[in-house]
């Protein structure tokens, strides 16, 4: 189907179904139940899950296939975001030009950065990309304030030109739309105690992610993808086989930069604001973590990793002591205090701690990321006798230099 081999078609179908029914899947608990805290099916989080999924899918095309570890990919997302907001300010509130220009601008910027950084490999490459991203961040925060809005970020204003749009009514706040559909419009489906939200912006982003995912499958299975994997495996042999690796790595770099630009464009389409923090090195680090956590070099891994981290950031950080107390209120006082006391350091303001511990656990026990965890599980269910096989299958331990 779609020119894919069977297993890939199945994977793509699974992703389509998952994104299509995400409003149901992410809202498994009835609205007023104790567990409703863990519902993630509200527009903003659903949008973020798929957008950062796109970002990680793109990053994986570079890192997962060629092994080049870029520590500055957030810069492309940021540049894409700024370009997107400027389109919304200058051209139209319709998101399509914003998204397209974001991709193009991020692609151009990644071409420049990649062309220079790819003259080196290994950690030297990583530090070069990091240096470019940090410079972009620092300048955007300070000297470039007239272009980027600096600390307060860039937002559409009532007084912007928007040359393609009719003038807004007096006092109306400009909102991004797609042919009249506003990004934060939603339908709510009420079934018993459950409420499911279907959001316009989410489905636009979801369509983009499915397309991005499909494209990444095609790239993985193409001769180009094969060459990229060859770069990772043995660049010297590739050169002695008559192939110049730099155009391949550069193309991969630019493609992943464009994915980042798409993610940036979608971010501003959903929420018309761009700030410099999204270019800070921790943001670049985050996409690295997403990819490794999910499983670098696998198709679905980055999406899982992105979902995992974003869900955590948005759900666990919102649990406060008050909520904990209601959870354990059914217990006798002393016992509930004990439980609240035990869990409290790990939620709310302690969500970073939980995230750090999970990083360590995943890397220690699942070297291939969440995908490997899934394979292990599947292995247990499918065939108990060759359960050990899948553990060693997906990773190759590169010796430390």
């Amino acid at each position: 189907m779609f020119g894919l081999r069977k297993s890939d078609s199945v994977l793509l179908l699974i992703v389509i179904v998952l994104t299509l029914f995400a409003p149901f899947i992410l809202n498994p608990f009835p609205e007023n139940s104790v567990m409703a805290q863990f519902n993630g099916g509200y527009p903003d989080l659903m949008q973020r899950l798929v957008i950062f999924g796109i970002f990680a899918i793109g990053f994986n095309i570079l890192f997962g296939l060629t092994g080049y570890l870029s520590f500055g990919h957030a810069a492309f997302l940021g540049v894409g975001s700024y370009a997107g907001v400027w389109m919304i300010k200058l051209l139209t509130l319709n998101v399509i030009p914003a998204i397209i220009v974001s991709v193009i601008v991020a692609g151009a910027f990644s071409l420049l950065v990649g062309w220079i950084s790819l003259r080196r490999s290994g950690i030297y490459f990583s530090i070069l990309t990091l240096a470019f991203a940090q410079m972009s961040y620092s300048l955007a925060y300070s000297v470039l304030t007239p272009i980027t809005g600096g600390e307060t970020g860039l937002q559409p204003k009532v007084g912007d030109p928007r040359i393609l749009d009719a003038a807004l009514e007096e006092g109306v706040t400009p909102r991004a739309n797609l042919f009249g559909m506003f990004m934060n419009d939603s339908y709510e489906l009420v079934i018993g105690g459950w409420i499911f939200t279907f959001n316009v912006g989410y489905y636009i982003a979801a369509v983009c992610m499915v397309l991005a995912f499909y494209l990444s499958i095609r790239i993985f299975r193409s001769p180009f993808g094969l060459m990229l994997r060859a770069v990772k495996s043995n660049q010297q042999r590739l050169n002695y086989t008559g192939i110049e690796s730099k155009p391949y790595t550069l193309a991969a770099f630019v493609i992943s930069g464009m994915y980042a630009g798409l993610a940036g464009g979608l971010l501003v389409a959903m929420d018309t604001q761009a700030g410099a923090e999204r270019m800070f090195w921790t943001a670049s680090g985050e996409v690295v973590l997403m990819t490794i956590l999910g499983g670098a070099g696998t198709l679905i891994g980055p999406v899982l990793g992105a979902g995992f981290i974003k869900y955590f950031e948005n759900i666990v950080s919102k649990i406060n002591a008050n909520i904990l107390e209601t959870w354990f209120s059914f217990m006798p006082d002393g016992v509930s205090d004990l439980f609240v006391g035990l869990i409290y350091p790990f939620i709310g303001k302690g969500w970073h701690l939980t995230l750090g511990i999970l990083f360590m656990l995943v890397v220690i026990f699942l070297p291939g990321g969440l995908v490997q965890g899934g394979q292990k599980l599947a292995g247990v269910f499918k065939n108990k006798k060759d359960g050990s096989d899948s553990a060693s299958g997906s990773t190759s331990a590169a010796p430390a230099e």
Binding site: S222, G242, I243, E244
Partner: protein
């Protein structure tokens, strides 16, 4: 006129002179062996052929064009393939994929953004690669990950990768190093067969005299960075200069 001509090549590293006025003439269709004691400069010379090193002075011409200043992939595109002392293969990829990559390189040149087509639809490449694996008797291993094979199989795979490009010149750097006698004989047979069937010119660097004298049609002896003798195998055996070089006779 040989297909590969080396004229007055000099190369030094810092103060150390690795090659001094090396001259070499490899004739088309021949198996030309380069022998010499350790540190004689054999590998340095080979590296000058593939673009890994650039000679300080002198000329290296292949098939009428100079190789100097060309990058490794450009040299390969002119028809020069190299087998390494320790097999250089794509260890993370399958055996079939390993062979497909040189096929793509042969067909598409040094770069082609073939990002949307699926590998499995590239019938011509698949057929060619599979045929190659049949030729080297590895077709039953096509789905294996290359890193999981024995050293002998890796060497064989590397050779298959080079051959699938139909090179005009094949450079072999100690193709039997570290092999058991039986494997060595297999390799000798394989190389002889290749030469017979495909008439590929080969330059072999080798320590094992059994291999050298079984295969070579011409031999150059390198000692202390310079060619001391270039002659037919039968004339090399008793050559006094060669004996001196190997046995370290008094200067």
């Amino acid at each position: 006129m040989g297909i590969l001509e080396v004229q007055n090549v000099n190369k030094s590293f810092g103060g150390l002179k690795a090659l001094t006025n090396v001259n070499l003439n490899v004739e088309e269709g021949m198996i030309h062996a380069i022998i010499g004691p350790n540190g004689a400069g054999k590998s340095t010379l080979l590296n000058c052929f593939v673009g890994r090193l650039i000679p300080d002075t002198g000329a290296v011409t292949f098939d009428g064009q100079s190789l100097l200043g060309k990058k490794p992939h450009e040299i390969n595109q002119t028809g020069v393939s190299r087998v390494f002392q320790t097999p250089e293969i794509f260890s993370d990829l399958t055996v079939l994929e390993n062979v497909m990559i040189p096929c793509f390189a042969k067909r598409d040149g040094s770069y082609s953004l073939n990002a949307i087509k699926s590998v499995k639809n590239e019938q011509d490449i698949l057929e060619k690669a599979e045929q190659m694996l049949v030729d080297v008797d590895m077709i039953d291993k096509r789905g294996m990950t290359a890193s999981s094979m024995s050293r002998g199989d890796k060497r064989r795979l590397e050779m298959a990768m080079c051959l699938s490009q139909d090179p005009k010149l094949l450079l072999l750097d100690e193709p039997t190093a570290g092999m058991a006698r039986a494997d060595t004989n297999n390799t000798i047979a394989l190389l002889a067969e290749i030469q017979e069937k495909r008439h590929i010119t080969m330059v072999v660097i080798e320590h094992d005299m059994h291999v050298v004298f079984s295969l070579a049609q011409k031999i150059s002896v390198l000692a202390q960075g310079t060619v001391i003798v270039e002659d037919l195998p039968e004339n090399i055996k008793g050559h006094p200069k060669v004996q001196e070089a190997y046995l370290g006779g008094a200067h």
